[in-house]
Every structure is written in structure tokens, then in C-alpha cells.
């Protein structure tokens, strides 16, 4: 069977850097808590005139530009986002147009913060049908425009950004996406959500502006991530017949340094083998794994032949992991 290899990656972080001290809607006492509670010291915010597809486009160009891959040769675009340009059409469709990827189909997926691992598995599966030679997978999030600026439980922790990966079919069987595990617990779908704006609560039924903003039950999410993160990584490695010691780097969703520390401790793996950039970018939802993957490659933390685990957990509730040989 063909394998699916990641031939290039890219990322885009908006220029606007927002340190914790700039969040003046909260007291200085509260600002100092942000870093302690989550490890987030700064985040990026998109410009007023930027929307999610703009971020996705830049990440895509970064990815394709590295290997001079012509956009017109892209066969499919999958875009993961939980902060789309609009409810419809798919944000991916605008990216396809602006990129000039005229041959490509394009659609969105939404598994909130788990979108990266879901998208990698989906792209892998499509390529392995033999019908497509390549797929561009982009994850782009613009949470600064869907958060309640006054809510200390959410606003400080999220940032805007996008990551991209170009996946290609290959005859080599020992490289690429080796295995994926995905899971969902829909009984907890209220734990992380944007209540209003869909058919469950149309705009004319929104009684308070905060109902149009992202919300989450922080303590529940923390416990969920600590439970499912190590479990899905163990499940993935067991299914692939790989030991923890064989994994060069764990690239987990960048939600909270205390979650990453908890996962590392539970697995018995030093935190140093987990890539961390949430201090600089905050939680970029489904974009976090692809942004971190691109950075880890650029910084040579990982390289050709290394085994990498990507893992994520988020709204749904959903969680998953991929085992990748770079």
C-alpha cells in the first residue's frame, strides 16, 4: 500500500503580538495569573481586515513556496477550522481561489482543537485510495474574533494562526503517516462550544452577545485532556507496535503547559521531548499542531527518519493522535 508522506510544511502567525500586559481589561493581578495557569505569555491577533482564509492562504503559500510546488498541481485542499470566515460556504473554497489551485476540490472540517489530527488522518486516507496524488491540509484559526474580550476564562488563552502541510502519496512504505487514532464523546458536546449563530440558536434568538462567543468549562476540559491525551498516545503506539522510547518528539495540541506536563508525567516521558510554543502563540486551536510541526522541522528538533506523535483534544469532545515518520 502507498504511504502518505509530508513533503512540506508552513505556518503563518499574524504580526500583531499581544503580551499578557496588554490585556488591560483584566487587573495586573489577573494578568500575572495567565502565565502561571497556562504558560501563555503572549499571543498573536489578526488584523481588523484579516479573516481566517487570509491566514490559511499565507500558511499555504509558506508551505508550497518552500519546495516551489505549483498551486495549480494541488489536487485537494482540506481546511480545518472552528472559526470559519462564514457559516457557509467552506472557508477552504476562498483559499482554493486565492491560491490559484484550480484543479483542487476544497472543503472544511471542524473538530475544534482536534481538527489537525482528524485532518491528517483524512488526507492520508484519501491519498491511500489511490485517487489523489497530493492533498494540501491547512488548519487556520482566528479566535480573537469569536471570543468574549471580557471573559478571563477564555480570552487570554487563545491566539490566531495557521499551519499547513502538503501530503503526497509515496511508494516508500516506512515513511509518512503510519497510523492514526480518532475518538469522540458526543455526550459532552456542551463542554466546548459557541452557543449561538447556528440552527440550535439562530441569530434572532441570541438574547445576550456572549452567546455568540466561544465558551468552555475549563476544569472539565483540563481533566478531559489529562485523561485522554496519554490514553490515545498509548493506544496509537500499541496499535503501531512502537515504544514510547522510539518517539523523537511529541507534538501535542498547545492548550496549556500544565496539560502537556501532566501528559508527559503520566507517560513517563521528559517534558523536553514535547514541543512547546504556546508561550509565544497561545492556544491556536486546530492550527496549533501544524504550526508546531513546522517550527520543529525548521528548528531541526525533528528531521527525516524521526518518529513523531501528533496528538490533540478538543470540542466534541474529540481527541486523536497520528504516528508519523518524517
Amino acid at each position: 500500500m502507498k504511504s502518505t508522506v509530508i513533503v512540506s510544511t508552513g505556518r503563518y502567525l499574524p504580526d500583531n503580538i499581544i503580551p499578557n500586559s496588554a490585556l488591560t481589561q483584566f487587573s495586573r493581578e489577573a494578568q500575572s495569573l495567565i502565565g502561571n495557569k497556562t504558560g501563555v505569555l503572549a499571543r498573536r491577533h489578526a488584523g481588523e481586515n484579516q479573516c481566517t482564509s487570509d491566514l490559511a492562504l499565507e500558511a499555504a503559500r509558506s508551505c508550497l513556496g518552500k519546495i516551489n510546488f505549483p498551486p495549480e498541481d494541488i489536487e485537494g485542499i482540506i481546511l480545518s477550522t472552528s472559526s470559519p470566515d462564514r457559516i457557509q460556504p467552506a472557508t477552504a473554497s476562498r483559499v482554493q481561489h486565492l491560491l490559484g489551485a484550480k484543479k483542487a476540490f476544497a472543503f472544511d472540517i471542524n473538530s475544534v482543537c482536534s481538527g489537525s489530527v482528524y485532518g491528517l488522518h483524512l488526507a492520508d486516507a484519501l491519498i491511500k485510495t489511490g485517487q489523489y496524488g497530493n492533498i494540501l491540509f491547512v488548519a487556520a484559526e482566528l479566535y480573537s474574533k469569536i471570543l468574549n474580550k471580557s471573559d478571563f476564562g477564555t480570552f487570554p488563552y487563545f491566539g490566531d494562526g495557521a499551519g499547513a502541510a502538503l501530503l503526497q502519496g509515496s511508494a516508500a512504505s516506512d515513511r509518512g503517516i503510519l497510523r492514526s487514532c480518532l475518538a469522540t464523546d458526543g455526550s459532552r458536546s456542551d463542554t466546548i462550544c459557541v452557543p449561538g449563530g447556528g440552527t440550535m440558536m439562530p441569530y434572532d434568538k441570541i438574547t445576550h452577545p456572549r452567546l455568540a462567543c466561544f465558551r468552555m468549562k475549563g476544569d472539565d476540559v483540563f481533566a478531559f485532556a489529562l485523561e485522554k491525551g496519554p490514553a490515545v498516545i498509548r493506544q496509537l503506539l500499541a496499535a503501531a507496535g512502537v515504544n514510547l522510547e522510539d518517539v523523537k518528539c511529541f507534538i501535542c495540541h498547545q492548550a496549556n503547559i500544565n496539560i502537556l506536563r501532566g501528559i508527559a508525567d503520566t507517560l513517563g516521558v521528559p517534558l523536553e521531548r514535547f514541543y512547546v510554543n504556546l508561550d509565544r502563540y497561545g492556544n491556536t486551536a486546530s492550527a496549533s499542531v501544524l504550526i508546531a510541526l513546522d517550527e520543529a522541522l525548521e528548528e531541526r528538533v525533528i528531521g527525516e527518519g524521526d518518529l513523531v506523535v501528533t496528538a490533540a483534544f478538543g470540542g466534541g469532545l474529540s481527541w486523536g493522535a497520528n504516528l508519523i515518520r518524517i
Binding site: S27, E29, A30, L33, S150, G153, H208, G218
Partner: protein, 83 residues
């Protein structure tokens, strides 16, 4: 006291829509309010600063703090800090 409590109560009902059928009085503890946690305490702190122009430290917004405690602080912040 009465007007401060009324304004504080309105703010809490706005910040915590899940408060629902809970009857909020001066004796209501913050811990009695559904979904009150350390994050919510910061939101309440911001509300108090914006609406009463009083900076209340977070350690005075614990679960056992009552609304009357908060009103007392708002109306006499210097006295409360000295205490």
C-alpha cells in the same frame, strides 16, 4: 448599601446567566453561584472595578465571600484593607 447590593446583584446575574432560580441576597456566598471558579472571580473583579471604581483583590473573592462582604468592601475599601 441597598443600591450597591442591587447593582452588584444585577452584575452577577449578567455574568452568571446560569444563576437561574437561585435567590441572590446579601448572604449568598460566591461558592453558591453555579460555575463560580477562579476564572469567574477575575470577571467579577473586572465588573467591580468597571462599575464601582474600586480595586478588590482576588483573595477577597473566594467561595466563602458573601455579597454583603463585597458590598462592605465597595463602600469602605480603605477600612476593609486595614482590617
Amino acid at each position: 448599601m441597598a443600591s450597591t447590593l442591587k447593582k452588584l446583584k444585577a452584575g452577577i446575574e449578567d455574568l452568571f446567566p446560569e444563576v437561574g432560580s437561585l435567590i441572590i441576597t446579601g448572604e449568598t456566598r460566591l461558592g453558591d453561584i453555579p460555575d463560580f471558579d477562579s476564572m469567574a472571580a477575575v470577571n467579577l473583579q473586572s465588573f467591580i472595578e468597571d462599575n464601582f471604581k474600586v480595586a478588590i483583590p482576588l483573595d477577597l473573592l473566594g467561595e466563602d465571600t458573601t455579597l454583603k462582604d463585597i458590598v462592605d468592601f465597595i463602600e469602605n475599601p480603605a477600612q476593609q484593607k486595614a482590617a
